[in-house]
C-alpha cells in the first residue's frame, strides 16, 4: 500500500514539476515581450461594430462596461518591481489606434455610457492628438445623453483649446447651457466665445432662447440679461462699422467716428458701464475698454 502511495506521489510530483516549469517558462516569455507589444492590439473590439453588436446580443451593456474597463487597464503608467529593489514605472508604448477602437466599440454597444466618453476625453486629445476622433465620440455621447451637459462642454472645450475656433466653441457652449442643470457660466462663456469668433447674432439668438425658458426670479437671470444687452450693443456697433466702411470706403479709425459720420446717433448703452472698444482686428469689446493698449486696438 505504501509502495503504491509512493509511486503515486512520485508521478504527481513529476507531473506538477513539468506543469510548473512549462507554465512558468511561458509566462516569462510573455512578460518579456509585453512591453513592446500593445495588449490592446488584440481583442474583440477590433471586430466591425455590426459583428460586435451581433455577438453581444442582449448583453451589450455589460460588454460595453467590460470594454471601458479594458481601456482603463490599457492606459496609465505601469509600475513593476525593480530587480535591484523597489519599483519603477514603465512608459508603455500605446497603440492609440487600437485604444480608440476600444472606445468606439464600447460606445457602439452602449452609446450613453458616461465612462467611455470621459476616459476618451481624458486621454485621446491630450496624449494621442486624436481631437477629431474624440469629438466624434463626444458627439455620439451628447446625442444619446440629452440630460447631460458635459459631453457638449467637453466638445466646446476641444473646439476652443485644440481646434482654436472660439466662434464654434461658443455656439457649442451655448447649446450645452440649454441642457437642464447645466451651470449658468456656460451661457456667459459661450456668448463671449461666440462673439469673439464673430458669431454675435448667433450668441444673441441663443441667449434669447435661453432667457425665454428661464424664470426671471431665478438666480443668474440678470447676468444673462446684461450679457444679452451688451451683445446687442456690440451687434449695433458691428453693423454700424460695416455701414461706415461702405460709406467712406474704409474701416472707422475709432468708434467716435461712427457718431461723427452720422452712421450712429449715439453708441448703445453698455450694461457693464464700460466703454465699448474696437481693436485693430475689428473686434468690438464690451468688457475691455483698454483693448487698444492691450493689443494695439483703437480706443473710442
Amino acid at each position: 500500500m505504501s509502495r503504491r502511495l509512493t509511486v503515486h506521489l512520485l508521478i504527481a510530483l513529476v507531473l506538477v514539476s513539468f506543469y510548473v516549469a512549462s507554465y512558468n517558462e511561458l509566462l516569462q516569455q510573455q512578460r518579456g515581450s509585453v512591453w513592446k507589444t500593445s495588449l490592446s492590439s488584440f481583442g474583440i473590439w477590433n471586430l466591425p461594430p455590426i459583428v460586435l453588436l451581433g455577438i453581444a446580443g442582449e448583453f451589450k451593456g455589460v460588454m460595453a462596461d467590460y470594454l471601458t474597463l479594458e481601456a482603463g487597464a490599457q492606459l496609465g503608467t505601469e509600475v513593476v518591481r525593480n530587480p535591484a529593489g523597489g519599483y519603477k514605472s514603465i512608459n508603455k508604448d500605446y497603440d492609440w489606434q487600437s485604444i480608440h477602437r476600444l472606445f468606439v466599440a464600447s460606445q457602439t454597444l452602449d452609446p450613453s455610457f458616461a465612462q467611455t466618453y470621459i476616459v476618451a476625453q481624458g486621454w485621446l486629445p491630450w496624449d494621442a492628438n486624436m481631437v477629431s476622433e474624440t469629438q466624434d465620440i463626444l458627439k455620439i455621447a451628447a446625442k444619446n445623453r440629452p440630460w447631460d451637459w458635459q459631453p457638449a462642454h467637453a466638445m466646446g472645450f476641444n473646439t476652443y483649446y485644440f481646434l482654436k475656433n472660439p466662434g464654434e466653441a461658443g455656439e457649442i457652449f451655448l447649446k450645452a447651457a440649454k441642457i437642464p442643470n447645466a451651470p449658468s457660466y456656460l451661457a456667459i462663456l459661450g456668448a463671449r466665445l461666440a462673439q469673439k469668433g464673430g458669431e454675435t447674432e448667433t450668441a444673441i439668438s441663443l441667449l434669447k432662447s435661453m432667457l425665454a425658458n428661464i424664470n426671471p426670479e431665478e438666480p443668474g437671470y440678470n447676468d444673462l440679461l446684461d450679457r444679452l444687452h451688451a451683445l446687442e450693443g456690440v451687434l449695433v456697433i458691428e453693423q454700424a462699422v460695416n455701414d461706415c466702411k461702405n460709406k467712406i470706403g474704409r474701416k472707422p479709425s475709432s468708434l467716435s467716428e461712427l457718431t461723427a459720420s452720422g452712421v450712429l446717433a449715439a453708441l448703445p448703452p453698455n450694461p457693464y458701464n464700460l466703454d465699448y472698444c474696437l481693436d485693430a482686428a475689428g473686434i468690438i469689446y464690451f468688457d475691455k475698454p483698454d483693448c487698444q493698449s492691450s493689443n494695439g486696438g483703437i480706443k473710442r
Binding site: 455590426i50 451581433g54 442582449e58 448583453f59 451593456g61 455610457f113 465612462q115
Partner: protein, 272 residues
C-alpha cells in the same frame, strides 16, 4: 375543464421536479453570489455606477434564465423520454397537447420563480449601490421601469422556452434540440439588427436586397431584441405601458402558436 386541470397538475409537477433538481437552490446561491459581484463590479467604475449596477443585475437574470431554459428545461423534457415517464402520462387521459402545455407552463413557472428571486436580489444590490452613491442615480430612474424590464426579461425567456419545446418536439436527439434552440435564440436576439442592416445598408453583401427574406424571418423567429429593456431601465428611459402591453400580447401569441405547432410535430415523433 378536465383539460385545464390536467395542464395545471402537469405544470405543478414539472415545477416541483425543477425544484427537486436543486436548480432553485443553485439559483438562490447564484443570486447571493451575483449580488455581491454586483457590489464589487460596480466599484470598479468611476461614472454611471447606477447604470452599471442595474445593467449587471438584469444581465445576471437573463444569463441565469438562459441557463435554466437550455439546460434544466431541456433536461426535464429529455428525462421524460429517456426514462419513459411520458408513457405513464400519456396512458392516462392526458393528450399530447395537454402534456406539452403543462410542461411548458411548469417550466415557465420555474423561470418566473428564478426571475423573481434574482430580480429581488439584484434590486437589493442596486438599492445599496444607489444609496452609497446617490450622485450616480440614473436620471428618471424608477423601480417601475426596473420591474417592467424584469417582466420583459421573463417574457423573453418564456419565448425562448417555447422555441426550445418546439425544437424538442421534432429533434431526434436532445442535443440537436439544444443546438437548434440556442441558434434560434441567437437569431432572435439579432433579428432587429439584421433587419436594420438589410433595410438601411446598401452594402450588406449577400443580404443586399433580401428585404423579403428578412421580413419573413422576422415573423418566424422570435424578435427577442424588442424585450431587451436593460438599457431603458439602466438609464431611466421611460417606456410606455402601451408598448409593455403589446409586448405581453406578442409574447403570449407567439408562445401559444409555437406550442401548438410543437404539439402537431410531437404527435408525429416516434416516442419509442
Amino acid at each position: 375543464m378536465q383539460a385545464l386541470r390536467n395542464i395545471w397538475f402537469l405544470a405543478l409537477a414539472t415545477c416541483t421536479e425543477g425544484i427537486r433538481h436543486r436548480a432553485l437552490w443553485a439559483i438562490v446561491c447564484l443570486s447571493v453570489l451575483l449580488t455581491f459581484a454586483n457590489l464589487s463590479v460596480t466599484t470598479l467604475f468611476t461614472w454611471d455606477l447606477g447604470k452599471v449596477s442595474v445593467e449587471f443585475g438584469l444581465s445576471a437574470v437573463a444569463f441565469t434564465g438562459l441557463l435554466l431554459v437550455f439546460f434544466l428545461g431541456m433536461k426535464i423534457l429529455a428525462d421524460d423520454l429517456e426514462r419513459s415517464r411520458i408513457f405513464m402520462l400519456l396512458s392516462r387521459p392526458v393528450s399530447i397537447w395537454q402534456y406539452l402545455a403543462g410542461k411548458f407552463l411548469g417550466l415557465a413557472m420555474i423561470l418566473l420563480l428564478a426571475t423573481i428571486i434574482l430580480g429581488l436580489s439584484a434590486a437589493l444590490s442596486i438599492h445599496y449601490v444607489l444609496w452609497q452613491y446617490p450622485g450616480f442615480m440614473p436620471p428618471n430612474f424608477s423601480w417601475v421601469s426596473y420591474a417592467m424590464a424584469l417582466a420583459c426579461q421573463w417574457m423573453s425567456l418564456v419565448m425562448v422556452l417555447s422555441v426550445s419545446v418546439l425544437c424538442f418536439s421534432f429533434a431526434s436527439h436532445p442535443f440537436v434540440a439544444l443546438l437548434l434552440a440556442v441558434s434560434s435564440y441567437l437569431v432572435g436576439q439579432n433579428m432587429e439588427l439584421l433587419r436594420r442592416v438589410v433595410v438601411e445598408n446598401a452594402h450588406a453583401g449577400v443580404l443586399t436586397g433580401q428585404d423579403n427574406l428578412v421580413f419573413a424571418l422576422s415573423w418566424i423567429f422570435p424578435n427577442l431584441s424588442l424585450f431587451d429593456k436593460k438599457y431603458a431601465a439602466a438609464y431611466g428611459i421611460v417606456f410606455s405601458c402601451q408598448e409593455f402591453v403589446l409586448l405581453c400580447l406578442y409574447a403570449i401569441s407567439y408562445s401559444a402558436l409555437i406550442i401548438y405547432l410543437a404539439t402537431l410535430l410531437f404527435k408525429r415523433k416516434e416516442l419509442a
